[in-house]
């Protein structure tokens, strides 16, 4: 992990509100492993950095794929090539490469953390790797030729959610699962392999402040206690995560109402 001013060398819009931004930094590029992330300072006026998965690396550059969802990502989208941003990275623990027939499951922008993983599998001659991507609709879909795509509204690829496609892959012999996306989806992915002895790695996205394990804001409940998503994660073994805690908030709200 290092902190460095990184120049933006390219920025392209790949879909509505979705951008790829390429930064130049040899050390961050060479050290980044699939599933790791960078923590980006958005410049004067912002209090917290914003975390983004390392989407890809190429020679001295690394890139992120991001969607404009709020003020921070909106701000990020205003930066242009030749400008520089202060980046900390790579951070966290990425995905271990396991299995002969791995399946990569991305929901929405979660796909950003899987691109480099896919590349590494291909590099290590695991050609039998499958990619399943799910989007809410066509609007936010990002192209990935090898991927099986499904959308909730059927506007692109199959109509449905990723676990449908995942179950088919599991039937036809998939032996490792990697997923990143909304927590509701991750939970379903975890359920799909539960008890099946298929190593399943889930990448969590939680609000972060420090990104290095110092502030305890990004915690997640696991079977071995509270873990910091930024430091011990963002990738966890599916079996370890206790998902209830996340839903706890809404559940207890409901409960109180009922009593």
């Amino acid at each position: 992990m290092i902190q460095a001013k990184c120049q933006i060398v390219e920025k392209k819009q790949v879909a509505e509100k979705i951008f790829v931004m390429v930064f130049e930094h040899a050390v961050i590029a060479s050290k980044s492993k699939p599933g790791q992330f960078v923590h980006i300072n958005l410049g004067p006026g912002s209090v917290l950095r914003r975390p983004f998965s390392v989407y890809d690396t190429y020679r001295d550059t690394f890139s992120i794929l991001f969607q404009v969802v709020g003020s921070g990502t909106n701000r990020l989208a205003t930066y242009r090539p030749a400008q520089s941003l202060d980046v900390i990275g790579p951070l966290g623990h990425g995905y271990p490469l396991e299995g002969e027939k791995p399946v990569l499951v991305g929901g929405g922008m979660g796909l950003a953390s899987l691109k480099l993983l896919h590349k590494r599998f291909i590099d290590s001659k695991k050609d039998d790797v499958r990619v399943i991507l799910g989007f809410s609709s066509n609007v936010c879909a990002v192209e990935w030729p090898e991927a099986d795509v499904c959308t909730e509204d059927g506007s692109l690829g199959k109509k449905g959610i990723v676990t449908g496609l995942l179950n088919e892959e599991l039937k036809s012999g998939a032996d490792a699962v990697y997923a990143c996306g909304p927590e509701a989806m991750l939970k379903k992915v975890g359920d799909a392999t539960k008890g099946k002895k298929i190593p399943t790695y889930l990448c969590l996205e939680r609000y972060m402040a420090c990104g290095v394990g110092a502030c305890l804001s990004c915690v997640c409940e696991t079977k071995t206690g509270l873990k910091r998503v930024c430091r011990e994660g963002p990738v966890f073994k599916s079996d370890d995560i206790i998902f209830n805690e996340t839903g706890e908030k809404k559940n207890s709200a409901k409960k109180k109402k009922e009593t």
Partner: protein, 302 residues
């Protein structure tokens, strides 16, 4: 240029301190910051037994600030001594251990356990914890109870005792006066300001808890005023904090009456903040032909 200070008997190489709860417990920032260059580091609130803290989400950004509801999650004093203290001992920076409790006795117990430990230079008594005996309002909002906590800790330790004040009071200098009388060797302020953020879509608090604590540049003008008020009241040294993000901010606190400053939230934005302040303070003192001693509390009346 010498910018070392004497903080109630502890010699700090410079007046810049990492604030409790924002710099981890040992080397979390070690790969990004040369921690040994800091004046001191303060560790995360430490209780006698492990605390679990509050559920996620624990953090929300606001304009110029952030609200946290970490809730003093920590591994308890025993594990801290075993896991973290060895790393801290190896640093050049001084080590301040922030301590917490739900009863006065718990505070005293943590202080007592730490009293034998080499490498702990001071304990900072975080009296912003909910006082479970008093229905959860914080110890620090009642000057008398605040003083009792400090006195109880003082009894159990030969270490320097710093009392950390909460800003959520009508009269912070009254609290300061009472903890000084109770034996506090130094005073630090401010802790976070009680605050709230609501999600208009879900109509729930954006945190898992109802309220949290506001920190960052947004609270700086409030913190600065309180540091000035307290500096007019007490004789013990003051560690000023609350929104310090750059050298100008740090200078404002020192001019207003602080002997040292602590940086919290700004480190999340830029881990180099403290290092930059240390370097730039030197330039400022040179340019203005001043020493830290002369600068501290040198606010001119209007």
């Amino acid at each position: 240029m010498d910018i070392s200070i004497d903080l109630a008997g502890i010699k700090l190489n410079n007046p810049v301190i990492a604030a409790a709860g924002t710099f981890g417990n040992s080397d979390e920032y070690g790969q990004l910051v040369n921690i040994s260059l800091l004046g001191a580091v303060t560790t995360k609130g430490l209780s006698i037994e492990p605390w679990k803290g509050n559920p996620y989400p624990r953090m929300v950004e606001t304009v110029g600030g952030l609200i946290n509801s970490v809730g003093l999650q920590n591994k308890g004093v025993k594990d801290f001594i075993a896991d973290d203290l060895p790393l801290l001992r190896a640093l050049d920076a001084k080590v301040i251990v922030n301590i917490v409790g739900k009863t006065i006795e718990e505070y005293a117990q943590v202080a007592s356990v730490l009293d034998n430990e080499v490498g702990v230079d001071a304990v900072e008594v975080n009296i912003s914890c909910p006082n479970i005996k008093k229905g959860g309002s914080s110890f620090g909002t009642d000057p008398k109870i605040a003083a009792q906590v400090v006195a109880a800790v003082k009894k159990k330790t030969k270490k320097v005792v710093i009392a950390k004040l909460t800003p959520n009071v009508t009269d912070v200098s009254e609290v300061a006066k009472q903890v000084e009388l109770a034996g506090a060797d130094a005073i630090s302020l401010i802790n976070t300001v009680k605050a709230m953020s609501v999600d208009a879509d879900t109509r729930q608090s954006k945190l898992a808890t109802l309220y949290g604590g506001l920190s960052g540049p947004a609270v700086k003008p409030i913190a600065l005023r309180m540091v000035h008020e307290v500096s007019q009241t007490v004789k013990v040294p003051i560690i000023g904090m609350g929104g310090i993000s750059n050298t100008k901010d740090a200078l404002e606190f020192i001019i207003a009456g602080a002997q040292a400053v602590a940086v919290g939230t700004a480190t999340f934005n830029n881990p180099q903040t403290m290092i930059n302040i240390i370097n730039d303070i030197k330039d400022y003192l040179k340019d203005n032909d001043l020493t830290l001693k002369k600068l501290s509390g040198s606010l001119k009346s209007n």
